[in-house]
């Protein structure tokens, strides 16, 4: 046990020393971590793990993104759901789909999409409030959205009956390709389209 601790301390020390990375090394390290992660990695986490300044890390990610764009290869770096991710470029979608033998996943019904839109813009929002806006019972749509992890329960509203409130999830950002909620166009933009 003691030995193991010694080794760990030693590794720790070596790592501490190794922190002085060149810009290229930092970019390479950032790329390795983004690749390894199974979900988008926030710059803050990258900075913590690499023990680097967050500004340097953000700069490195920016450089990496440019490199990818310039290479014009099969991959791209994206900022999504509050983090960075490597994914394929859209132009390869047919080939990738043929390779993975997947169909585009089952689309959400219009009822679900409408309910999701209400939740996205009015969150946190309760079931009665959704009914009010949509003019239809939306229970099954809400259930679908919960099952697909696109929305999550967000505490109770302090009114009569303390109803559950709902809001969008991280998966929502991921599946709709959003950096964060502020990237959603403002609801007023859609009002202008009305007649």
């Amino acid at each position: 046990m003691a030995d193991k601790k010694d080794i760990e301390a030693e590794i720790e020390e070596i790592t501490q020393q190794a922190v002085k990375r060149s810009k290229e090394e930092l970019i390479a390290a950032v790329e390795a971590l983004i690749y390894t992660s199974d979900e988008p990695v926030p710059a803050k986490i990258l900075a913590q793990v690499l023990r680097e300044d967050i500004d340097d890390v953000t700069e490195a990610v920016g450089q990496l993104t440019k490199q990818y764009a310039k290479r014009n290869g099969g991959l791209q770096i994206r900022e999504i759901a509050g983090g960075f991710q490597i994914c394929t470029r859209a132009e390869h979608h047919e080939e990738v789909r043929r390779f993975l033998k997947t169909r585009p996943s089952a689309k959400l019904s219009i009822a679900s999409l409408e309910t999701l839109a209400v939740i996205a813009y009015k969150q946190p929002v309760t079931v009665p409030e959704i009914l009010e806006i949509r003019g239809v019972q939306s229970a099954s749509a809400i259930k679908t959205l919960l099952d697909k992890r696109l929305i999550i329960a967000k505490g109770r509203k302090e009114t009569v009956g303390r109803p559950m409130q709902y809001g969008t999830s991280k998966d929502f950002l991921l599946q709709f390709g959003l950096k964060d909620l502020s990237e959603l166009p403002s609801i007023e933009d859609f009002e202008e389209l009305v007649q």
Partner: protein, 259 residues
């Protein structure tokens, strides 16, 4: 397999082409197909468009009549939806009657008389706004589906791990409770369904139906105990009666058929 295909067909549509439309079900039966639009506000928007009316000056009497006509056609829609539609019908009738009331001359002097349609117009506009927003979400998802994340790598560990949310906790607890209930039920039902009863029931069904899907029959059983009894009953009936088991394809459904 067929179930999966069905699901995809059911869920695949083009957001912008999906419009309410009227289907001729038979010679004298028209039916409004609203698809996923099945809401009263959608129907109203549709009618207003059909009538080429101005949303800010809805010809309420005409629209109400049209609306009620559709409600009658739509009797076949399921109950919950129908309820929402009926609530709207009541609202429309109320607005219509208010509009018919003679206006007090003295009231006309005041600059802003409340229009009985105001609340409805607001609801329609808000609904339309969110429909537009839903269209935006639809487009985003389309774009997003052209982009793929990396395949699994070793460090992703086993996928039995899930990023739990509150919903997971509730549903998991619900499942545990359901499992519990089932076990309790099993305890109670023990001895309740006898082999003789099951065989009698099965014979009766065969005389009326000629054919029984064995899988579906087994699925009806509420407990493991009932299932075992049913299984033995099927074997028994094949042995003693003029009945045989047929399977059309490997792994296909097994049919119990009278000879």
């Amino acid at each position: 397999m067929s179930e999966q295909v069905e699901q995809i067909d059911q869920l695949t549509f083009d957001f912008y082409k999906e419009q309410p439309h009227i289907v001729r079900e038979s010679r004298d039966e028209l039916r409004l197909r609203l698809g996923d639009f099945a809401g009263p506000l959608d129907l109203l928007l549709y009618l207003i468009k059909q009538e080429q009316a101005n949303i800010f000056d809805i010809p309420i009497a005409r629209i109400t009549d049209e609306y009620l006509k559709y409600i009658r056609i739509m009797e076949k829609l399921d109950i919950t939806v129908a309820t929402d539609f009926l609530v709207m019908a009541a609202t429309l009738i109320e607005i219509k009657s208010k509009m018919l009331l003679p206006r007090d001359e003295s009231e006309l002097v005041g600059e802003d008389i409340e229009d009985p349609r105001e609340e409805l117009v607001r609801a329609l506009l808000e609904h339309q706004t969110f429909k537009n927003a839903a269209g935006m979400l639809y487009e985003r998802v389309q774009l997003e589906q052209a982009v793929f994340a990396r395949g699994k790598i070793e460090s992703d560990e086993n996928n039995a791990e899930i990023n739990a949310t509150l919903y997971d906790i509730v549903t998991v607890f619900q499942k545990i409770l359901a499992r519990h209930r089932e076990e309790v039920q099993m305890e109670i039902e023990r001895e309740e369904v006898s082999m003789a009863e099951i065989i009698r029931d099965l014979k009766h069904r065969l005389t009326t139906l000629n054919e029984i899907s064995v899988v579906k029959y087994f699925e009806e059983m509420k407990s493991r105990r009932e299932l075992v009894t049913a299984f033995i009953a099927v074997l028994e009936i094949v042995r003693t009666e003029t009945v045989k088991l047929v399977q059309s394809a490997t792994f296909g459904d097994i049919i119990l058929r009278r000879v």
